[in-house]
Amino acid sequence: MRLVIAEDNALLRDGLIRLLEANGCTVVAAVDNAPQLEVALRDVDADGAVLDVRMPPTYTDEGLRAAIAVRTARPGYPVMVLSQYVEQLYARELLASGEGGVGYLLKDRVANVGEFVDGVRRVVSGGTVLDPEVIAAIMSHRRDEPLDRLSKRERDVLSLMAEGRSNAAIAGALFVSEKAVAKHTNSIFTKLDLPLAPDDNRRVLAVLAWLR
């Protein structure tokens, strides 16, 4: 995997480069501010980008804006957005275009290197990886249709799906067979009226339906 990295803190940037390269990724560009990031994102050879939300020059949400802008220009371009804090609002904005290839994680999650690199891989291959904290915030809601139609178990499966887990990983986390998970995911797709499409894309759509 060839990745663009944007992170303004030198320690964290070096750490990210080190752990990604140790896990078989190539970092084609590592930048520390928004203007340079914009240039780096024009590189057509990169498979995706890992972006910090807060960067110079304004230290607000330039990473997020850059992610949305690059995905407008190149739909489906994989971005993994990292932040010191997560907001449901930002998750919605990232996913609003309806395409997969989006990750949105707390920086803390990088500490678990295996899971983090796995998450980046899944994003690059078009999956959706949301932080458990975002998912917990959504879960605590009493939202109406069509999620009311889901059973408790199906909601559990859907939250793990939003974290970007594969069926096998979901089966492991819920102590059920992979077959049972497949049954639940199919039932979720039906209940949410998702059109027939490759499984990966339907998983993204299911997460989107949930965020709305």
Partner: protein, 382 residues
Amino acid sequence: MRTSAGPWTVTGFAACQLLLVVPSIVAVVLVAVGGLLALVTIGVPILLLGLPALRWIADRHRSMAARTLGHDVPADYLPTEGLSTLARVRTWAVDPMTWRDLLWVLVSLTVGFALALVTVLLLVLVVTGAFWWYGAPHVMRLRASIDRMFLTRGHTEQLEQRVVDLTVSRADTVDHNATELRRIERDLHDGVQARMVAVGMTLGLADDLFERDPEAALRLLTEARDTTGAALADLRAVVRGIHPPVLADRGLTGAVEALALDMALPVTVLSDLAGRPPEPVESAAYFAVAECLANVGKHSGATRAWVDLHHDAGVLRASVGDDGRGGADPRHGSGLIGIMRRLSAFDGTMVVSSPDRGPTLITLEIPCALSSPRTTLSSATG
């Protein structure tokens, strides 16, 4: 500002004032008798009749003076809502405006009466029509100025009141800040600090065990990593309590939208803010709205809520409404009092309308100017 009134209008006022002469005499006699007899209780009911009548008459003169002069003539009585009868009488007695009213009646019944009479006579006598046409507005402006002099607080009194208000709000602000700092210190001490100590200990232990029992050392490393995660979560909570990052990123509208998304019930956010208020005001408004929404979530039993952010004529207005059971009382519950105190530092106000069985509407107003929309760097412009 209203324009000053013409001869017909002021003559109408003069006629009204003449009609109010007899009621004025009755009212002032009632107040005088009631006041004297108040010492032996019988006077209290007489006062309860006379004083409101006197105030009503004074208020009519205030509004006539305001229309004649073209600017406000405010009453500024001490508030008596919700007081017991006796407390109300006591408030009346100490209210300087009551004494001003009484003084005014004397002037109104003599000089004021004469001026109003002249105005009406100039018209009624017909032959003096020309004098009336040109003179009446001047005569009545004189009367209105005299009325205003007696019926409003003087400049010094207004300044004194302002000093009292500022002293109270300054004390509240200092108090609030001290409490906040104390809370932050405690949160850091109990949360992050304690966890970092634990991380240090766990790492030290892992270091010790590394040679002898690598597996145990590895377990300790994992534990230390998890604890740093928990420490970061604590730190995020503290930061949100000081200045939420989303407020810095997106301003009041975006931050309130983020709050709305995190609510368990659907919350509609309407905003027409074209720019950003000064940072301290923005932060105070944000925490005020957050507190209101938290109350909606905790106490209202509402099925939906809404927030409206609006800036007009130099005032930022935030309204938070819900369709819940109502009965919110700012006097109970420290949250709403806290909001009031925090807003008072900016001359802000909070009005709560929450009848039993709802709906509840809380309106916060803070005078401030908006800065032009901040130009954050977008990727499109590089």
